[in-house]
Every structure is written in C-alpha cells, then in structure tokens.
Amino acid sequence: MDASYFLISLLNGLSVGLLLFMLASGLTLIFSMMGVLNFAHASFYMLGAYVAYTITQLLGFWWGLLLAPPIVGLAGAAFERFALRRVHKFGHVPELLITFGLSYILLEVVQLVWGRQALNFLPPESLRGPLFTIVELPSPGGLSLAFGEPPPACQAVAGASCTQFPSFRAFGMGMAVLMLVSVWLLFTRTRIGLVIQAALTHPEAAEALGHNVPRVFMMVFGGGTALAGLAGVIGGALRVTEPSMALAVGAVVFAVIVIGGMGSLAGAFVASVLLGVLDSFAVGSDRSLADLFGALNLAVTPATFGYAVWSVKISQVAAILPYLLLVLILIFRPKGLFGTREG
C-alpha cells in the first residue's frame, strides 16, 4: 500500500467517522438523559438535510447551516412535549415504539412536502473545490501537498498520482470537532449544563431543588435532534439528499452506540471513528478467509463445501462490518467499549 493511498484512506475514514459521530452524539445524549433510544434519529437527520436544502434555495447555504438545526430541534422538542412525554409512564418499550412510529410518519411527510426524487443539494460555491491535493510524483518520490486545485504536474508527468481532498469534507470534519468541543463546554462550564448533568443521574433531587426537569428533558431531546439536523445539513450536501438517506444511515448509528457502550459519549466517538477508518481500509483489502486458509496450508478450492462463504473478500463485507463488529463485541465485551449504563 503506497503512502498516498494510506493517507487518503485515513482522511476519508476520519471524515466518515466524524459525520457518524455527529449523529451518534445526539442519540447518546438523548439516551443517557432519558433512557429513550430515539429510533427516529436518522429521520431528523433527513429532515435537517431537506430543511437546509429549502433554506439554501431561498437564502443561501450559510443561512441553511445556521437555521436548519434549530428548526429541527424545535420539531424534536415539540414531539417530546406533545407525544413522547405522554408515553414516559408506560415504560421504555412504548417510548421506543413511539419513535419507531414517528420514523414512518416523518418519512411520509418528507416525501409529501419535497417529493420522492433526489434533490440537488450542493455545497456552497466557496467550498466546492478541493482543499488540497496529495501529489505523488514518481521521480523524486515521496508525497507533497498542494493547496487548492491539482498542480499542472499531475497531468504533465506520466505516472503521477494525484488525489484531491474536497474542501467540503474537511469542513464537515471541522464542524464535527467544533460541535464536540461546544457540547463539552456546554455541559461542563455552563449552569444549564450542570443542571442537565444532575438531572441525568438524580432527576428527583434536581426536581426537588426547583429545576423544571420535564423542561430540561424537552430541551435535551430538542438539542439531540438539532445535532442530528446539523449532521443532516453536512451529510445531505456531501452525499445525496433523498428519502432513503434515513434508512441507509439509521442502522449503522445504532450499531455504533452499542459498540461504543450505551450512554457513553467518549465511546460513541471512539466507535464511530473506528468504524469509519475500518470501513475505509477494509475496502482496500481483497483478502478473504480462503487466503487465510491458504496461508495455513489448507487448500480451499471452488469445489470445497461452503466456498461461497470462504471466498468472501473483506472489501465485500466492508459495508456490513459494523454489524459483524456488533455481534463480536456482544460476545466478548457486552458492555461495549466504554459502556457504563446497562440500558
């Protein structure tokens, strides 16, 4: 594996992982706060992308980035206030089920309002080109970074390998880190953050001290969904904005938080980055179990029983690696990587 391929794979993996973390963080927040696993979290992600698209058409991308998360957060808070709150007293299973029902409804509403076609949601003009280009020239060898568009050497020199890294991806990574830092600051340095932390572990005591715990719940739910909306703005512009975007990313996010340990923000961070990087590098590998057997001097031919399973390459399973890891983690470390709360 040459150096430029390694570097670009690492960068891609990090960007995917950080986007996944933006989603997983909101979910973890809601879960550790209220014990509710928000099944409709990916639907709020989708809603964020669509709302941002509409605002971008009217006012521009930056306004979309600024306004879409609060709008989605309001929608989430409204849902909590009028629907979820009523269901708290029935237990955790009905809470999970009501968010399950919400995911169906949000999907239909989005399709009603914006249609079933994919939307042309593009990053803003200033962020469309590459941030930098990794240039690997054959003659002097080694890597060099060229900021902006690829240098003319890429076309001129034969055997030159140039890979661009899009600015918008880097912007997304930056947003994720910024979000992580600001959430951490909010929790540890502001008064409301301390109240939230208190209500997390001792809701009755916090209520006895006069804090409006149900309102805190509503704010946290709204905050979590706002984070999902923010992830949606980035994800929708980076990838495709269409109705199936919620389904595509929903299941992986749940795998992430179970692997990281339910209720742990640090665990969600490590798990999402791990999964992103693993996915990126797994695609590059064409090894399979058959190769492993071959290395152990066990001959595996197409005639061997179950050859279809042994010959599956790692690159083919890269997309379902999160679920495989989920099963493995549950066998060997059921608490998750950083798990604290038993759910």
Partner: protein
Amino acid sequence: MKFRNRLFGLPVAASLALVSGIAFAQAGETVKIAFIDPLSGPFANIGQNQLKSWQFTADQFGKNAAGVKFEFVPFDNKGSPQESLNNLKAAIDQGIRYVVQGNGSGAAAAISDAVSKHNERNPGKEVLYLNYAAVDPALTNERCSYWHFRLDADTSMKMEALTSYMKDQADVKKVYLINQNYAHGQQVSRYFKETMARKRPDVQIVGDDLHALGQVKDFAPFVAKIKASGADSVLTGNWGQDLTLLIKAAKDAGLNVNFYTYYASTSGVPTAMAAGVGGKVRMVAYSHNGVPGVVVKWQDEFKKKFNDDWYTHATYNGVAMLVEGMAKAKSSDPVKVAAALEGIKFKGFQGEVEMRKADHQLQQGLYISEWRKADAKNPYSVENTGFNFQQVKAIEPYVASTPTSCQMKRP
C-alpha cells in the same frame, strides 16, 4: 320465387355476418392489462412514471390494426414479490388476462412462476405476462416460461453490446469493475470477464469489487482504490443511490476515468451528474434520447403533458407487439395471442425487431450513448438538467444477440 330467394339469402347473410363477427370479435373491444409495480414507497415515482408511460402509449395507439383499445389497471406491489402474487390473484379475479411488470427481477420471477402454475391448473383462464424491464437472464434461460415475454434486453445482451463497443476503444486498457453484490451485479462482473477475454484478451482487469447493495454511504474508499489501481475505465451495473454516490465521489476526488454504466438514466442519477462528472459517462441501453422517429416526438409530447421524462420506451414495443399479435391471431385470447407472438416480427420504435421463439426474448438493437450537454441537434433536457444521452454507437440486433439455454415447455 322471390319468397324462396329471400329465405335462402337470409341464412347466407346471417352466416356471413356471424363469420365476420367472429373475425373481428375483438374490434371495439377494450383489453384490460394489469400493471403490477411499486406505486408507493421508495420507488413510487418510477412506478408512477411507468404507469403514465403505458397509459400514454395506449392513448397514442388509440384504435389500431387489431381494433382494440388497451386499458391499464394499476396494482401496487410495493416492490415486494409476494405482494405481486396477491396483485396477480386480484387481477385474475377481476377477469384481467394480461399482465405487465418490470421493476425488479424478484417480482418478475414470482409473477412468471405464478402465471405458469395458474395456466397449468386453470385451463381456459390463461394469463399472459409481458416483462418490460426485469433483466435477470435466468427469466429467459433456466426459468424460461411459454407465457413470459421480455421486452428489455437482458444483462448478457447488454454486456455483449457494450464489449463490442469497448473492444474498439484504444483508451480502454485497464478496466476496474465495481458492482452491487447481488445477482445482477455478480452477473455484470462475470459476463464482462467472459466476453472481454474473448474479444480483447489484452485488456487488464485491475479490480473487481462487489459491495453490499444500498449500504455503502461513502464511495471515497472505492474511488481511492480505483485510483491506486491505475484504471482508465470503470464498468459498473450500479443503479440508484449506489451509482449517484459513486459518480459524485469520483468527481470529488478528481478521478477522471470513463464510466461505462447500465443505468445512468435512472431517476436521480442525471440530476447528480449535472453537477459535473470527472470523465465521460457512457451507457448501454435499448434506447436513448435521440432515436429518430417515435422517441423524439413522443418524449416532447410526454414532457408537455406530464412534465416528466418518458424513458421507458419499451412501452411502445409492448403495445405495438400486442397489436400485431392480436391482429395476427384475430383474437384477444391469451392462448392464441401467445402462439402468434412467438417468432413475431414487428416494427418497434427503433426499427424492425423480432420476438425470438426459443426463449421469448425480444431481439433488438442496442445503443451506446454518452451523457452530453444538449445542443441544437439533440435539444432534449433530461430531468430539466440541460443534458441528455446522445448516441455514440448503434449495435445491430445480431451483434447484441446471445444464445439461450431455455428448454421451453409448450402447452
């Protein structure tokens, strides 16, 4: 005398009238055809578009040589093969004896099997099935059925046509294969390797990736791999989000290779490509936006009427074939029509085509087209992007034809 003549004339006249009545029994008749495809859920817009296409085609044909009118009755199968079987039963209950379907080879296989079994178990109530878009080769090979007729070209035919174009391209030296890991993608990969080994053994296959269907959210790692392999062309059977994301990722990373695709014209992909593509995007299909005659005329009319693109040109061939078959059989009874359709030659939208008797696969020419900006000669705008698919090469029917292993059981 006069009295006897008149009496004698009456039975003759009556029998003549009767005979001519039978001969044109179907004249003025409305033949109902069940349309079984997704009309709700994620593929609703494709299904709705295709329903409108069939209804539009039926209207355009109006009264025709066979003297029948076609009415399409929609059934929503939600993309599910098992639901398609329920729809089939409902259609049969309503007395409908023709079925069209195309979205999904799973549903197609289910309908084909169910129709065969129904016809075997219920003589006198036979049903005929026209498959207009499901391309699994098995449907005209090991799973072929006398009552199934395919209007689209199957995966092997498309690969035959595509490779006959690619072998003449000097800039195709290293090809990277990337496909969805299910029957269709695996077939694309396999057929390419087989046919290219025959036509241009010097072409190197520098990669052969199969990724999980609909699960990959980020194709950047694949694009990096393609770049590292030094490929100059990418061949993919991907459709929908899998193709859109691949092309987007290639553009973002600055991968300037040529893409050879099957489904670049499916919903959503043109909009994504309008933002810009790295190299050229070429497609193999049974039609494109510039086919002279029916296509250029009808696509504008369809756009004016529905503000949507008419891309299922097989609807024209389907109705034309039925008209021809019913006129030849002088009846709308599926048993007689099926016998008439075997081996029938008729004028499709692209010229003369033939429904091959051996496996009921329509033998038609295929086109290699390229995604280009609309100009004066090709003004059509796909999905209102200002681009369209323009012909690069037309492949003759005999070149695109592939052999069949079908052992058809005829009643």
